[in-house]
Symmetry: C2
Subunit: 679 residues, 2 copies
């Protein structure tokens, strides 16, 4: 077996081999490093960024000297004229760290890793269109993910023309300059600057960054399981979820105390297992042309939720937790904005005035988390207004909007701080909860992320999908989103059941809602969203059949609690995501490497959600094992199969021989018994 890491040098070249394969190879003819200068232009409109770069210089570097050292090797490079960069390779048993030291004022770098047409790469944070990233380039910049996300769709075109908001395949709330190669190594770039990982060439990857990064790390492993463990060790891990999260769905309800009460009663009558109610508008709402928006002044809105201070405890008694909503902005009309502005807690304009961001017909200040006092203050807001009030969870929304021209307390460039913002925001939530001693009770979920979000947020959600069937921005897209997040060290992922964005004529159909909930039963957390325009979206209580359907699938979810809990634990302890790519357990299976709309739900279940409208069957790929179809009890053994998949029978299989076999065998029966509680 090849050494995990080997450094090879001669006078004019050097190479770094991982598992016997050359990953870095520098020679005079084929330099692995280019540096240069560029000037970016950035235009933000409501979280959608138009980013252009004007590269005025790009120079392949020439090796001046290379020598082996005790730690690894040192190399020096010139631009042909003078020494411009040195690097130190620090070698450990299974990894190398390549540290750069740039001697000139360059602000662009391109680093080439060797590749082949057969190699596949995964991760990059949360990627919604391509799970295997080989073949495309991926700008890594936290932003709105876009509406439509495919320039060939009418949804995207309309979103672009009306709101500059169409996005593209690479737009994501959570990018991360890290990937896992099918050549069994992890590559990570230590930077928060804008980066673009280009996997579009057959024979090399080109990792581009808008600063000379601190370092690049390459970590070898024998198996995907080992690589995932190393990712966990390197980036930290999501803790286990509070036990109550498994008690049922988190119903997204808006409209006030009475509405919640009524809907809970209706849910109960239909046997819907409810773990929580999630009321975004607990702090009030406003109506804009986009749809219903929230008040963004983070305190109980007594007018809208009368008696909530009592109700919240009543519901908790019944096992139903109350979840709310917060984000890192404060609306100009609110008391928090006033307070923050007085205390100098908000990011500023160049002229010293408060920077207000347009969020679509309303304006907000940006809490400046580079100011320790502002951070303390915001934690206090969370502790006093959310935790002390009794909230057991919330959506910690946004994090990806930091404008690149704000003036920050720490005097750092906002162009650089931008990508770090989601983690700063996550940490504010985490630390507030820890300081309140509630880390085992409270859960919050985020869509934005970057390197480090693994420790800063216990649960991701897939962001704002459109309420459509399109692959790049609908039901289907949350599957690669979960898989790529998992390969990036975030194994706990979920999505808005039914999707969120109903714009440009897109309205949520009942069928889409049902297909989404039947998938969500096989994810760590089930949660609905009414959507930005609730009246344009079919809801969980839209009719009796739907209520029963929710009853059935939430019953399956709670039935699977012991299994799901064990998966969440495995994620925390071993870094194995709850929703896993097939290849994690079937390393040698080439087809498994190309599957992005199926997943293993732990080692023992395989889920192939129905992602097409009016589908009655689905093609499913089963890796080599004996798989039992949960609805028919029919057993299949590997390869492509076509299964019947009517509404209510998503293709779900369990692995023959699993220790949970008995639990799985009961799924069909649980579904039959689900629905109406009088069934």
């Amino acid at each position: 077996m090849a050494e995990a890491v080997k450094l090879v040098t001669d006078e004019n070249s050097f190479a770094i081999r991982l598992n016997g394969k050359e990953v870095i190879k520098h020679s005079t003819e084929n330099p692995f490093l280019y540096i240069g200068k560029g000037t970016e232009s950035v235009d933000m409109y409501r979280g959608n960024f138009q980013i252009d770069d004007y590269v005025t210089e790009r120079t392949p570097l020439k090796l001046v000297s290379v020598e082996k050292t005790e730690a690894g090797l040192d190399a020096s490079f010139s631009d042909g004229h003078e020494e411009v960069l040195t690097l130190q390779v620090l070698k450990k048993e299974d990894r190398v760290q390549i540290t750069f030291n740039c001697k000139r004022n360059h602000n662009r770098i391109w680093v080439r890793l060797q590749s082949s047409a057969e190699e596949k790469v995964y991760g990059g944070g949360e990627q919604l269109s391509y799970f295997n990233m080989k073949g495309q380039n991926f700008p890594l910049w936290t932003s709105e993910p876009g509406v439509g996300r495919n320039k060939n769709t009418y949804t995207t075109w309309q979103a672009d023309v009306k709101d500059k908001a169409g996005g593209d395949y690479y737009n994501t709330n959570y990018p991360q300059p890290t990937f896992v190669s099918s050549d069994k190594y992890i590559a990570h770039m230590n930077t928060i600057a804008y980066a673009d990982f280009d996997f579009s060439n057959d024979d090399f990857h080109e990792l581009h960054c808008w600063e000379i990064p601190e370092s690049i790390e390459l970590i070898a492993g024998d198996t995907y399981a080992e690589l995932l463990r190393k990712i966990k060790e390197r980036f930290g891990t999501q803790p286990e979820l509070p036990d109550w999260t498994y008690n049922g769905i988190w119903l997204g309800i808006q409209g006030g105390t009475d509405v919640v009460e009524r809907k809970l009663q209706k849910a109960e009558r239909h046997g819907i297992k409810v773990g929580g109610v999630w009321c975004q508008d607990w702090q009030g709402k406003r109506v804009t042309s986009f749809g219903k928006r929230l008040m963004w002044n983070w305190i109980w809105n007594e007018e809208m939720y009368p008696g909530l201070d009592k109700k919240i405890w009543e519901w908790k008694e019944k096992g139903i937790r109350f979840l709310g909503y917060i984000n890192p902005y404060v609306a100009v009309e609110g008391h928090l904005f006033k307070e923050a502005e007085e205390q100098n807690y908000l990011a500023k304009q160049k002229d010293g005035s408060t920077y207000v961001v347009d969020f679509g017909e309303f304006y907000c200040g940006v809490v400046d988390f580079t100011n320790p006092e502002a951070t303390e203050w915001y934690k206090t807001v969370i502790k006093e207004n959310l935790i002390d009030f009794g909230l057991d969870g919330w959506m910690a929304d946004f994090g990806e909007y930091l404008p690149t021209d704000v003036v920050l307390h720490n005097e750092a460039s906002a162009m650089k701080e931008h990508n770090a913002w989601p983690v700063r925001w996550g940490e504010v939530n985490r630390d507030a909860i820890h300081e309140a001693g509630k880390q085992d009770e409270i859960v919050y979920f985020m869509r934005a992320g970057y390197t480090g979000i693994q420790e800063a947020c216990p649960l991701l959600w897939g962001g704002d999908q459109s309420v459509i069937w399109e692959k790049d921005d609908g039901l289907a897209s949350v599957i690669p989103a979960a898989l790529s997040s998992g390969m990036s060290g975030c194994g706990l992922h979920h999505s808005d059941i039914g999707g969120y964005t109903s714009l440009h004529g897109n309205k949520r159909e009942k069928e889409l809602l049902l297909r989404w909930v039947e998938m969500a039963a096989f994810t760590p957390v089930m949660r609905t969203h009414e959507g930005n325009r609730p009246d344009d979206c079919f809801q969980f209580d839209g009719d009796e059949e739907t209520l029963d359907f929710f009853g059935a699938f939430t019953s399956i979810y709670t039935h699977l609690k012991p299994y799901i809990k064990s998966l969440v634990k495995e994620n925390t302890e071993a870094g194995l995501p709850v929703q896993r790519p097939l290849f994690v357990h079937y390393e040698e299976d080439e087809t498994a490497h190309d599957i992005q709309y199926q997943y293993l739900f732990g080692k023992d279940m395989l889920v192939a959600p129905v992602i097409d409208k009016e589908a009655e069957t689905r093609e499913v790929y089963l890796p080599e094992d004996n798989w039992v179809h949960v609805w028919s009890e029919k057993e299949f053994r590997g390869g492509w199969i076509t299964v019947s998949a009517p509404l209510g029978e998503p293709p779900v299989f369990y692995r023959r021989g699993s220790e949970h076999e008995e639990l799985f065998q009961q799924i069909a029966q649980v579904k039959m018994n689900g629905g109406r509680s009088d069934a």
Copy 2:
């Protein structure tokens, strides 16, 4: 007054001043030259090119030495390491030529010229969206101009998604690496390679090219008239048009001899002055999903046009010339393809087989004009099948489709030959006509062009506009097209009356046709086109009112013959285009520099076509002079005015004091008398 050209040098810098302004300035801090390496990727689909570049190196050059010479100056540049490029500046009284000599294998160059926010630049061949190019970059590559040409329009989006054919503001059949600056100089790059002139920066222009070009020429002048004369002298000129062209409109008719005869009679009854009939389908047609297409085997189709061999002379007797159609491709089904293939006259694939191009449900060979024998053969086809048969003109279509991966007889890269192809194609037509001694009788018109088209084609037409009101691809777009062509040395321009492309639900309305014909009466040539889907397009004989309308405006056109003829002569002799930007005669008028939807028709008329649907008035800018509105005889003096502009009364003015005043005064009356011949 400043010297026209001045070279300034010291040890580390040099500058070139034109009219006292620094146009080129090199210093260590601000180099004017960058060279590098790139690898392009080109994907052609039916004349629409997706072109991407991967620049791996870009290096600012450092001045090693500069010395004044008798001829001008010599300079040598390094990349910081070694000498990579020398240049010679050859200075003449009013101009400099900068010749490059590259010593390494670089294939990309960026040359910076000094600019200011106030400077304006014009030309660049035929530009349909921006007459003043300052503010945008312009890839210079002959191609289809696109359907819609604006990513914000639904037409463009559909064309992109269905046919990759939407295009953008810079797509044009006729690009040219030449511009005229409002700082009163001409810049031209001697290259046929792909180029991109970037005028998007306030303080510099960046002229980019995918080879190290032979040279750059800078020519100073005192006035626009002088610059236009110098353009004529530098690039050649279009000869005067045959006298018969002024006898009336060229009616685009398809369908065979009888149809032509019937339509001519109808036209005559309505007083339409007809100079020619233009029958594209004289050589047969085919029907595809795009619409009616032609046979592309260049010989009289007797079946479709029985008796044409006699009729053609009969019509000529009556003063009606017959025009046909040809392009540089031969359809695989035809006898010409067979003949050419046998003789090795067609461009080839790498494997030696004939390269066939997909033109949309039919396939053609590319006549290889780099093969002198093939060129001779094609001239013979033109002489025998077109000229000897009696044609007095034709559309010499295409020229912009040369695929970049064909193998040519001269072994040159098709990537380079691509831009040269329109001129090669023009020359085949020109030389065939000259060899037949018919240069005073025959006219052909082209849409494709490049540097040199001025001498290779006597008349441009604006290409295939959509039958719509959109600014970037409809009626309006042919005005900047004519103006920019004029600033590039092609002062004879016209367009398909009514537009051509009716796809994606666009159908030609009567109103559009009428607005187009009322504009065309004030251009060098009037010609209709039935469109790609004649049944979706309102035609000149669509109703009685329209026939009368054509009668009226063709009468105005023939009435203006002496004036128009004098303008055409002026174009040929002095390089002053027939349709002129206002600033050519009003140099000091700043507003005139921003007008792109009006033009001077010669010095003495000002035309402001109605370009908006259902408009009843139009805002018109009149430069400082006394202007008489031809329909009302009202006199205006300079500035912005609003004039009534109902159908049939396009805003047209003549200059008080013109020597043609009497002719102009009769226009309204001529229109009244026009229409029905019995009027």
